[in-house]
């Protein structure tokens, strides 16, 4: 059966390479070590290099040595990022790819391929996704403007409720206090939702600007822990941070790194059973830092470990949220040239890890 299939393939009247060269999509094949084995003409045209400078070269080396910031390099860098996620059948992401002549969007698809018995590697497809990209741009613009407009009235509602609850209008009947308390909790939730929507629209439109400084990860962790003290107490969960010895400084955006840690930590707290402990492990990797947040909650089924990073994905019975927190975390960590992933077993808690590179020596 297989033999006859192979025969029918090889007996195509034209060379498969010719067909691939006529595609407008870029096609690239690498081995499992990301050494480039094949590129079609569309890729060659975009990278602007002769085949001998590409074939056999590691994808990262190609990006580092040959690709300027404004060229195909950004795309290939994204491809490399996609490959650093846990192996899956099919990963794809769309990115803006604007040149001086044209605004375009490209979707990169990375999928493993197997060719038994021995050879295997990855197939990378670069497809034009301009129409869907443009529609998404309009959506992002709308979300961004709408959220901005909602934030101001929200601020005055929240402030007014806090003043009333704080005794500005004198002592209130217990019923009023209870209702105002409900309103304040709801407003706080709305503010978080709006902030998440704003973040995701910035991320998706490539307008998220990070301000990198050399900093100590433990400072960010300490600040997140302080800001979540009340939540931890409400859930009767304790937080313990263990530093793994000397840590190198990292190059990071302080606010955004704190945001990631706070998000992971508050998830861990919300899913922890009472009287349990959330542990934060900080480890010195040779060239970076790894932070792990470990809880004793219900755990996550293996088929969902990647999906939880998707936009709007929510686990059955999950705590109410925007469904965007982890999506934002992943985007932020990847903008730090790091990676983030989850490990878990049902009934045995979850561990969320992220790694970001160390700052270069001063």
């Amino acid at each position: 059966m297989i033999d006859s299939l192979t025969t029918s393939m090889t007996s195509l009247p034209i060379d498969a390479g010719d067909i691939l060269d006529q595609l407008s999509q870029g096609v690239m094949v690498t081995d499992t070590n990301w050494r480039i084995q094949y590129v079609n003409r569309a890729v060659l045209r975009n990278v602007g290099l002769p085949p001998e400078k590409i074939l056999g070269v590691h994808l990262l080396v190609l990006v580092a040595n040959y690709c300027r910031e404004d060229s195909y390099g950004e795309l290939l860098r994204l491809a490399v990022r996609l490959t650093q996620r846990p192996p899956q059948e099919n990963v794809s992401e769309r990115v803006p790819f604007h040149t001086a002549e044209r605004r375009r969007f490209i979707r990169i698809r990375v999928q493993p391929y197997r060719q038994e018995p021995s050879a295997s590697g990855y197939l990378l497809l670069f497809q034009d996704a301009t129409p869907e990209g443009e529609i998404d741009e309009m959506k992002n613009e709308f979300v961004s403007v709408a959220s901005h407009e909602m934030r101001t009235p929200m601020t005055s509602i929240k402030g007014s409720l806090e003043l009333l609850l704080g005794g500005y209008a004198g002592e209130l009947p217990a019923e009023a206090t209870e209702l105002l308390g409900i309103s304040l909790t709801a407003v706080d939730r709305l503010v978080r939702l709006i902030n998440d929507l704003l973040d995701i629209s910035k991320i998706e439109s490539g307008k998220m600007e990070l301000h990198f400084d050399r900093l100590d990860v433990t400072e960010c962790i300490a600040k997140s822990m302080r800001s979540l003290r009340a939540l931890a107490e409400a859930h009767k969960v304790s937080i313990r941070a263990d530093e793994g010895g000397h840590l190198p400084p990292v190059l990071a955006d302080r606010d955004r790194l704190e945001q990631v840690i706070t998000n992971l930590l508050s998830n861990a707290l919300k899913y922890s059973p009472p009287d349990s402990e959330v542990r934060i492990l900080i480890r010195n990797l040779d060239n970076g830092v790894r932070v792990s947040v470990c809880d004793q909650g219900p755990g996550i089924a293996s088929e969902n470990l990647e999906k939880i990073f998707d936009r709007f994905f929510q686990l059955a019975g999950s705590k109410k949220g925007s469904g965007l927190g982890l999506t934002i975390c992943r985007a932020l960590i990847e903008q730090h040239r790091g990676r983030i992933w989850a490990e878990s077993e049902l009934g045995r808690g979850s561990q969320f890890h992220f790694e970001i590179p160390a700052a270069p020596p001063e």
Partner: protein
């Protein structure tokens, strides 16, 4: 330094009202109001405050430009300025501190603790400047 009068500069009327109540109720301060940068400069001259709370994002003249002008005026330079800014603008406001503001507060602020946060900024500024006056060898 003793605070008696605070000039609050904020373009959104509702937020201005909430902040005003908060400063009066929790700080016990007299509060004067300005809705934009130009009005702030005018008010600072005619009804001199002990402290200016300055929103960063305002139409016409933004908070940074207003601060630059306050600090460029020898008669207004000494009035301490604190920025009010959205969380998403936090990195930007840190750069704005170079203009001579003594600190910043994040919106949405909690009106019950706003005055306490202002006192904290004033105290740490006082500590920093008294250290600066006694240079260590």
């Amino acid at each position: 330094m003793e605070i008696h009068k605070v000039l609050l500069v904020e373009d959104e009327a509702d937020i201005r009202k909430v902040a005003q109540i908060s400063l009066q109720f929790r700080g016990g301060w007299e509060v004067t109001l300005a809705a934009d940068g130009e009005e702030c400069l005018r008010m600072a001259t005619t009804d001199r405050p002990d402290l200016i709370l300055l929103d960063c994002m305002m139409p016409k003249m933004d908070g940074y430009e207003t601060c630059r002008r306050l600090k460029g005026d020898s008669s207004l330079r000494e009035i301490p300025v604190i920025f009010l800014t959205a969380k998403s603008q936090e990195s930007e406001v840190r750069k704005g501190l170079a203009l001579g503001a003594i600190g910043y507060l994040i919106k949405p602020f909690n009106p019950m603790s706003l005055a306490a946060e202002i006192r904290e900024i004033l105290e740490s500024d006082l500590a920093a400047s008294s250290q600066g006056n006694n240079p260590e060898e």
